[in-house]
């Protein structure tokens, strides 16, 4: 069975949890009503499951390959990207001025989830172009926008992010690539960049590299980094392509997963210097790159949700089909393994975590739209702060959970899961990059603590905890064992999260290492509590619909059961995580390096 977009849950979350109605009432979002949203999602779902999903396993088996500086992508990728571009999917969330469709993030996000769910390797090319578009939109000159945006938005060209260098890894302060001004407004760029996703490929006419480098007099560290446009082919005044630039792919990596997506080593300036154009001002490159990264981080979070959904669907299909052993309650013959309780437990765990992460991400997307479109500047600013708090959680927690989900997906398949033919193993391999690229989970957690929690003394974080408690209060109004269980664990989760926020804020100055020893655990705790909060909200909506006799009763009933599973099995871990954060740093930090 191939990936199918989970339309019902997507629309439920958009409409009932993420306030699509509110978003469509925002200035500039008037067209984005529920009908449009559903139509866009349906069209995208059809495209994605018809054209993109079938390339996923094939691309894993026959990855992109490098020969003599050129990268040939997996069979069908080039043609599929052409269709993707022509149908306008690259431009979904980008301004109509540059050939986009100008839809809000809340509608773009499920489309992004579908694309990643269907084929992570393929979707990466679009994700990177999105990032480049965001950065140029914010920091590019009018001329740069006029030159580069439309071809990127329409998928005629693609974009890349060039940060990492061999000696620097995630530490951008250590970037050494050089950019030498030529006196004519251009620069010559020299250096080696590694881990460049779609840094070279054959799917578009041109590739627009956005490259971090230092000008000759730049201060050391991150304050001396500038951002440059380095096109693969020079662009003439009329928009046609000119000479080949001195930016070359010297190899691609042999990776654990996402094998169809080429991960390039790029060499800039080996033959005299690659022509580069400064974006914005010198030494502000990191700031601009963060624009790309924040967009990309949210996108990687959606990769986690999409991949988890795909792994779940595949495991469900296998578990319904595979007959093995009798039912525990007694059956004359073997039953489909979905009847075995531990298989059921794994499927529910996959389902519950995927739904919770989806809900939290879409809610964040809706908040992003308010932050960008609301008429009131204060409302915008507040929503922007909430969105920025949620981004590292959407990125970090969704991807961490996707690893577990992919793992359970293999496990449901038993021995067959270990055979590459089934495809379950591909999810397990592909998932492993998600907690690493665009900043590891630890880097997300540093961001969550440093920029998002400590700066305002935990005020924003605690305002979210207060909202979680309000939902718990609503849950207490419903008299049923399901709602009692959800309420109990959500309330405890809120207590645990608040205690951890206090711990972080109170100790970060006196003992910074002690706080950061629990950074990733704090991020995960925030993920399960805020994800659990969305599941609680979802259960309340479902209960109201059931009481009113509206809609699909089986769907709403399943939502309540799934929310309960999440509470009993996932949220119930909050107290252990709190203990590990608040008391656990001595164990983390107690050894000398020599004792390892």
């Amino acid at each position: 069975m191939s990936y199918q977009a989970p339309m019902k849950d997507m629309l439920f979350v958009m409409n009932e949890l993420a306030n699509l109605e509110g978003v469509s009432a925002l200035p500039g979002c008037e067209d984005a009503n529920a009908e449009t949203a559903e139509a866009v999602l349906e069209e995208n779902a059809k495209f994605v499951s018809g054209v993109i999903a079938p390339l996923n396993h094939a691309g894993d088996k026959e990855p992109s390959f490098w020969h003599d500086g050129k990268v040939t992508t997996s069979k069908g990728f080039k043609e599929a990207f052409k269709q993707f571009a022509e149908a306008g999917w690259q431009g979904l969330q980008h301004p109509t001025d540059f050939g986009g469709q100008g839809l809000p993030k809340l509608i773009g996000t499920p489309c992004v989830e579908m694309l990643h769910g269907a084929n992570l390797s393929f979707a990466l090319v679009a994700l990177l172009s999105d990032g480049a578009i965001e950065a140029l939109m914010t920091a590019g000159s009018d001329e740069q926008k006029a030159t580069y945006l439309e071809p990127l938005v329409t998928g005629k060209w693609t974009g890349t992010m060039n940060l990492t260098e061999p000696q620097a890894g995630s530490d951008l302060a250590a970037v050494r690539s050089r950019a030498v001004p030529q006196g004519d407004g251009t620069y010559k760029v020299f250096g080696t960049k590694i881990f460049i996703t779609y840094g070279e490929h054959d799917m578009a006419e041109n590739i627009i590299h956005l490259v971090l480098a230092r000008t000759p007099d730049a201060p050391p560290g991150v304050k001396g980094i500038s951002l440059f446009i380095v096109p693969k082919f020079m662009v003439n005044a009329d928009g046609s392509l000119g000479a080949r630039n001195d930016a070359h792919c010297v190899s691609i990596e042999h990776k654990l997963g996402i094998k169809a997506s080429p991960t390039a080593v790029l060499q800039f300036g080996d033959n005299g210097g690659a022509v580069g154009y400064l974006v914005g001002e010198e030494n502000r490159g990191l700031e601009y790159m963060f624009i790309m990264m924040n967009a990309a981080r949210f996108g990687v979070g959606m990769q986690g949700v999409g991949l988890a959904e795909n792994a779940y669907q595949q495991a469900v299909a296998f578990a319904k089909d595979r007959v093995q052993s009798r039912d525990l309650n007694g059956s004359p013959a073997g039953v489909a393994i979905i009847h075995h309780p531990d298989v059921r437990r794994m499927l529910m765990s996959m389902r519950a975590q995927t739904e919770a992460a989806r809900a939290l991400a879409y809610v964040a997307a809706g908040i992003h739209d308010v932050a960008h479109h609301h008429a009131d500047a204060e409302v915008r600013a507040h929503n922007q702060a909430v969105y920025e708090y949620l981004v590292p959680i959407v990125k970090g927690w969704s991807t961490e959970m996707s690893e577990n989900v992919a793992r359970d997906g293999v496990q449901v398949h038993g021995g067959m899961g270990f055979i590459e033919e089934t495809g379950a193993a591909q999810h397990y391999r592909d998932a492993k990059i998600l907690t690493i690229y665009e900043g590891t989970t630890a880097i997300q957690a540093n961001d969550l603590i440093g920029r998002k929690t400590v700066r305002d003394g935990g005020a924003l974080a605690k305002s979210l905890v207060a909202q979680v408690r309000a939902t718990a209060g609503e849950l207490a109004q419903v008299n049923s064992p399901e709602f009692a269980a959800i309420r109990k664990h959500l309330e405890r989760g809120a207590d645990d999260l608040e205690a951890v926020i206090d711990f972080v804020v109170n100790h970060v100055k006196s003992d910074i290492k002690c706080v950061f020893a629990g950074s990733v655990l704090y991020l995960k705790l925030a993920g399960i509590v805020l994800g659990g909060w969305q599941m609680g909200r979802a259960a309340l909506v479902a209960q109201k619909k059931l009481a009113a006799g509206e809609g699909d009763a089986a769907f709403y009933h399943a939502k309540i059961v799934t929310a309960r599973f999440f509470a009993d099995h996932i949220l119930s871990g909050s107290s252990g995580m709190r203990a590990a954060i608040v008391d656990g740093s001595a164990g983390v930090l107690g050894l000398e390096v020599e004792q390892f």
Copy 2:
């Protein structure tokens, strides 16, 4: 850096926790004193890190391959197995009567751990031979023993286990292979077996397949399965090899991991029937196969420990070497990433879980030796029962934790971990088989509940909880924050485990699915509580040594810190697991199949 046996911890656990002294006092184990043990381990460590470990990554890159019915194993495997056999390592735990060394399991176990730690794929051939030897030793006729044991024990030949068939998977009741008596005491065997580890290879002169099949009048289900010896080459009366038997390898699998070890599809009897010899009595095959499986299950548990140790060592080496970003406490330049708190947390988590699982397994091995060698039958029987309770935990928990450890190993490497060249990714791929073969974790958990917990009303399980509490009592005597933390979480863990045992015993008849919905969680809870118990015992020993000024102070100090980490970060999860087991079945079982 290549794998090095963790000699210091191995010897500590053997001597201080697993009662090597007591084992060496048992009848027949007199030679197995501390000096012998250390000498054997040192010799084995030298062999394993010198000869076997270097083949691990190479074998992954150039797996075994099939051509025209023959399997060529990865480069160097054949020669290494010859050395392994000639040095007598295959026979370490097997009787001297058949060419073995007759050492107790407590000494064999660390050697097994090393072998698996160095090279999972290689070690599998020995693990399977061990199982075949155990089965023949218990159920074979004198003539069969005389024919097959010495060549197996000395590594001249190897053995296999043939259980799985395409339509049956783990459900042995569905086995369809046929064995037709020929009137001369032999049988002709017909059928297809899949997932046969080292079912065909070029590393030994002959392969002794042990095959489950049904005789013509056998009753249906597991009570109609018999066990047959089907040699690849017939064996003449003088022990020389005769004609090729009708057992052929038709393909090997393309797998996620353990790629150097061939996983064969074997076809029996396509050319007239494969000659087979009944082992023991007809229809008792499952019972005999369980002898192999129990030995193999413990062995797979050691694969988990060994792989985790290797992944840990590699992550430590990388983290000490890789310089990136400044220290959180401020440093002029970048520091090795081992100084970053979250890297440290992952390393400690890898270390603590590995040490705890090692300790629990070695303790189980020591108990096995008492069960087999003690003069008093009652002591033997009691220890056998304890050992059998521990086997599914050693298998299930050690392998589940090894997946997490291998995952963290990749994560410590960051982007480099996703590149196959580093080798970290191989552990992540290899680990995934361990929770599946020789019975998935769910199958281990079924065994833990059905045969090991419920049959005596939880009495044996609770006697272990009482021992955990006694250790908690001893921990309370030491006045320090480390010991207070360990005691607190160990006591809570004991409470949680006891509550779960009661829940299992009290509900298994009235609502079996509700109990089995938490089966794997019960296994994992037992793993962390009993593993945490061993870490608590280890901390007590370390504290006494430090107080007495004996031995390696840095080692003992590290042991106490590691035990504390285990308590704060791993054991602290016990309450959430208890909640998920005791309250969580409604969420697991609440959906109809159609709602998935």
